[in-house]
């Protein structure tokens, strides 16, 4: 399907006028996977990326960098959410692969009043020393690009934030992954009759403990 077709599909889903077929969902996922961070934008590095040596110099808080680099420096280099040997290229390709992974969940919602699509998957092999159980990617309809990627402290509970409204699940995250075939708890959230994502009471911290026990971590 043409990319413009995927964009139109996303707009129609956001406006609530269409339910995706499997092939349409696949086209939307491909579009989001290929979108990446905005290559033409610049973001201020700010405190979380300041002081890191990058491209032969020390980053200053006021430096303007491409969003892909800002997020890499904040979440991988400074935050250690990804494994320590993850370079920028590996970080970006891991996100593309995660979006395409059939075990990822996909959610339409609004954040700060603007439509977006959020993709979530268990972090498994992407989890670094200070990472968490899930990876979250926000794709913004207005920009047509990813705007942030991180491993949320409170797992999928972050989707309950009052800033995120109108949650509609288009694909549920799976209970296991080809790279992690061991026993894993199922997607701990479901959509209620209003399309709002609700928890089934499964606590991520307990998930985590069970996972670590099961895998000897």
């Amino acid at each position: 399907m043409e990319d413009i077709g995927a964009v139109q599909l996303i707009r129609e889903i956001a406006s609530g006028t269409r339910i995706l077929t499997d092939s349409e969902l696949k086209a939307v996922i491909e579009h989001i996977a290929d979108a990446g961070f905005d290559p033409l934008a610049l973001e201020r590095a700010r405190g979380r990326a300041a002081g890191i040596e990058w491209r032969g110099r020390i980053v200053r808080s006021s430096d303007m960098l491409p969003p892909a680099e800002v997020h890499y420096l904040r979440h991988v280099v400074a935050g250690h959410e990804w494994p320590d040997d993850t370079d920028l290229s590996t970080f970006l390709s891991s996100i593309t692969a995660l979006i395409r992974d059939e075990h990822s969940g996909l959610l339409f919602s609004s954040f700060q009043g603007t439509d977006q699509i959020t993709i979530v998957r268990r972090s498994v092999n992407l989890r670094g020393p200070d990472g968490f159980e899930w990876v979250l990617v926000d794709y913004r309809l207005a920009t047509g690009h990813w705007v942030t990627v991180f491993q949320p402290h409170k797992g999928l509970d972050i989707l309950q934030s009052p800033k995120r409204s109108g949650n509609r699940v288009s694909r549920h995250a799976a209970s296991s992954s080809p790279i992690n075939p061991g026993p894993r708890p199922a997607w701990p959230h479901r959509a209620d009759t209003n399309g709002r994502v609700v928890t089934n009471g499964d606590d991520d911290r307990h998930d985590d403990a069970r996972y670590r026990r099961a895998h000897g971590r």
């Binding site: 700010r46 405190g47 969003p67 200070d130 942030t148 409170k154 800033k163």
Partner: protein
Amino acid sequence: MVTTTDMMTLDTAALMVADLPEVIAEWAQLPEGERASWGADWDNEMAGLERVAGLASRGRLTAAQYTQFQLIATRLTTLTADVQDIGLALPSFVLTPSH
């Protein structure tokens, strides 16, 4: 027990809070993508800070960690109105202080 992840959370929250006055001043002029990015990261780091607040209330932080936590909480309290003006959420311990 305070983990290295908790300590990282405290440090990251401190850096974001230190950036706040500049972010607040620039907010209206920031590109939409950067506002969404910063807002989502903010929600996440404040969720982590809530966890550290729980450790603080149970007396699990060292004196230095508790001082750092208190500095963050004080700064957030000072900036409460401005933070709410730009639509960012505040952790519950700032809105209903008990520490």
